[in-house]
Symmetry: C2
Subunit: 415 residues, 2 copies
């Protein structure tokens, strides 16, 4: 079972937007055992679309296309599908009623002619209903390849993938199993890790593939096993993970099945019935944003004091002015005081703080660009850790935020 | 002048990471007049890499490949390049000295053999030095196509693109001009906007292309002009923008050349010498994170009180308990009070606040999922606006954050 993902839109090709649709679709397909051979972003040109559809014909079982379904002239996906499938547009009355009802409910006005024309679809298309927008998804087949066209707006695409595409694919195909296990290591570079596990890697079974995913500060090792016997795959992958523990247990900080630290941390806090607060300086709200991107986070997240200006640390967070005067605002003492004060102010069980200089300029800061202190306050006490993260700015913010969430995760796990 | 971007890595194809490299590279190429024909993400397989290089041979002038340059076994880009160019690896001593010095400086340990082996490069490759990592960039040519291989780690790729690739491309090629202008409209859907400008669109000159970019809450219209006479292109695009103002001036909220609202807002605050603070509930730190993603934001951003829990609004932000009791925590009164208190506490000129329910569940909230109030405090007073943003959660957070920044931008512009 192989698939291809094609995203259509000049805004991707001029770099105006990042294509996040491909990753979402690839992950959803991977989860049901369909391997994505390739993803492509192409222009809104009829010939380019036709050439791409033809390329994947019979090379893959499923092609998922997003974009180019708007009601405006620059959107040509439907016409291109008609041409490729030698079909023509017809007005689907059931679909039109659906679009009209949707517009009237959401916009509180009657549907325009252009809205209604969203119900013009190729006569052989199976409709994949869109409950969160007016452009429908379409499922068409030629020879042994299924072509699915979806709107490019991410939440509309996601809605149709989750509610229509994945269930239909599960029904249509028998699929192999694909199982991943990611081992997160911390503190050694890719080369060193590779040297330590070289022999193990050389002896991996044929059906297990290993990938190194270096991130600032950590290397993730992802094993992927593919086959028809799910239990066998899972056992084999677990056994190899056990061998890794013996070899590099000192640098392994966790395992994951693809979940982000904010999701894992959220589950842990919920399980333990504990709450968290944050005090951020150089991460500028990134930590709070990560935590609250998880639905249900209000159950365990109290809030964050993003005290970017020094006086805000004193006025809002009640950090002791004396500590700032004596040790400077970027110091372990201030980081610890920030964490403690956040814990008190928000009334949480745990708190984590950041203070540092994300750069790009040193400004009037006493520390080097890239220096960040993380403070950790737990029911038992407070401590801090210094990070030297270099540049660029976005790396410093991202790495400090990830590290802060990882530190607090391990603290909660211990207690 | 045409280019293709190829990102290599199974982590993209299983959806473990979002490919952000393609957009960065596409934007950098577009800026110097090189149009990206297509971007592809492919697997770490030698045959897949070779097939892709061959596909773009002579179809484009430049192919930029990222990924697969790590020192580990799963990285096969260098071997694939050797095969494609009928070349072999040699040890580049200057490069090895560079890698050794880099490791010793950054890691405070001697370079390992695997580190040193990063200096094994195809004998015909022109080296693009990487000052922020050990994997070098490589420039190779076959017939009229240039193939550039870069590391996949985003900040390493960006460093080499900015410092080596773009300067070299500017030197090598005469390029046409590509000029974009984006008109941001607010408050009407794509179909309605399209109907209002239909005649204008039909009469656009051949060399200007129009694209509709619908976002939650706004539609951006992007004109792109391509040609050899820069002044002519700019004049033509400006003239068309003037015509649009006459047609839909009532819904145009701004123009941009690809800059985000947080960048535009930052410039305005700096120009006017004004400061900003934020009080966030349902946006959970997203607004602060957007503001502080801009380098230099400490000049105008005081901070944000991310008061996710209701008691945090009272304890930290000093929102009046009575307002919450009488009007509920998601109300215009509380939004306004949050903005006012943030302005006072942080001592800023302006403040913006959010309170709402981002969903997915209604919980014990009195309002519908997707209801958000934005509060705006200015030197002259305070007011609020209600948004009904529906679902899903991520859309509510994104749209409310964007809207909050847009509102405050227009306020500052007025004063």
């Amino acid at each position: 079972m192989k698939a291809a993902v094609v995203t259509i839109g000049d805004e991707i090709l001029i770099g105006q937007i990042v294509d996040t649709n491909s990753a979402y679709i690839a992950k959803a397909l991977d989860k049901i055992g369909i391997a994505v051979l390739e993803t492509r972003s192409i222009s809104d040109e009829r010939t380019h679309i036709l050439e791409t559809l033809a390329y994947f014909q019979n090379r893959v079982d499923v092609v998922i296309v997003t974009g180019g379904l708007g009601p405006t002239k620059d959107d040509v996906t439907k016409e291109s599908f008609c041409e490729y499938f030698d079909d023509h547009l017809i007005r689907n009355e059931e679909l039109e009623a659906h679009v009209v009802a949707l517009i009237e409910k959401a916009m509180k006005r009657p549907a325009s002619q252009m809205n209604k024309d969203q119900a013009l679809v190729p006569s052989h298309a199976r409709i994949l209903y869109n409950e969160v927008g007016t452009a429908p998804g379409m499922w068409m087949e030629r020879a042994d390849t299924v072509f699915i066209s979806l709107p490019g707006v991410p939440y509309e695409m996601k809605y149709i993938i989750d509610n229509a595409v994945i269930p239909a694919l599960i029904e249509k195909y028998e699929r192999p199993y694909i199982i991943h296990k990611t081992i997160i290591t911390h503190g050694q570079g890719e080369s060193l890790v590779a040297e330590r596990i070289e022999e193990w890697e050389n002896n991996l079974p044929e059906f297990i593939k290993l990938a190194y995913l270096p991130n600032p500060g950590r290397v993730r090792l992802r094993m992927s096993a593919r086959g028809t016997d799910e239990a066998l795959l899972q056992n084999a992958i677990d056994a190899e993970a056990e061998k890794l523990k013996v070899l590099i247990g000192d640098i392994i900080v966790g395992f994951d099945e693809g979940e982000t630290i904010e999701v894992v941390l959220g589950k842990l806090l919920k399980d333990k019935g504990k709450t968290l607060a944050v005090a951020e300086s150089c991460t500028g709200g990134k930590i709070a944003q990560m935590i609250t991107s998880v639905a249900g986070s209000s159950a365990y997240f109290k809030g964050s004091a993003v005290t970017y200006a020094t006086e805000a640390k004193v006025n809002i967070l009640k950090v002791e002015q004396q500590l700032i005067d004596v040790f400077s605002v970027v110091s372990s003492q201030v980081a610890e005081n920030m964490a403690l004060k956040a814990k008190q102010l928000f009334g949480s069980d745990y708190a984590v703080s950041t203070t540092g200089n994300a750069g790009p300029l040193k400004g009037d800061s006493a520390v080097e660009v890239g220096t960040v202190f993380i403070g950790i306050a737990t029911p038992k006490g407070v401590y801090s850790e210094r990070l030297d993260l270099g540049q660029p700015r976005e790396k410093v913010i991202e790495r400090a935020s990830n590290k802060a969430l990882e530190k607090i995760y391990h603290e909660i796990l211990k207690n």
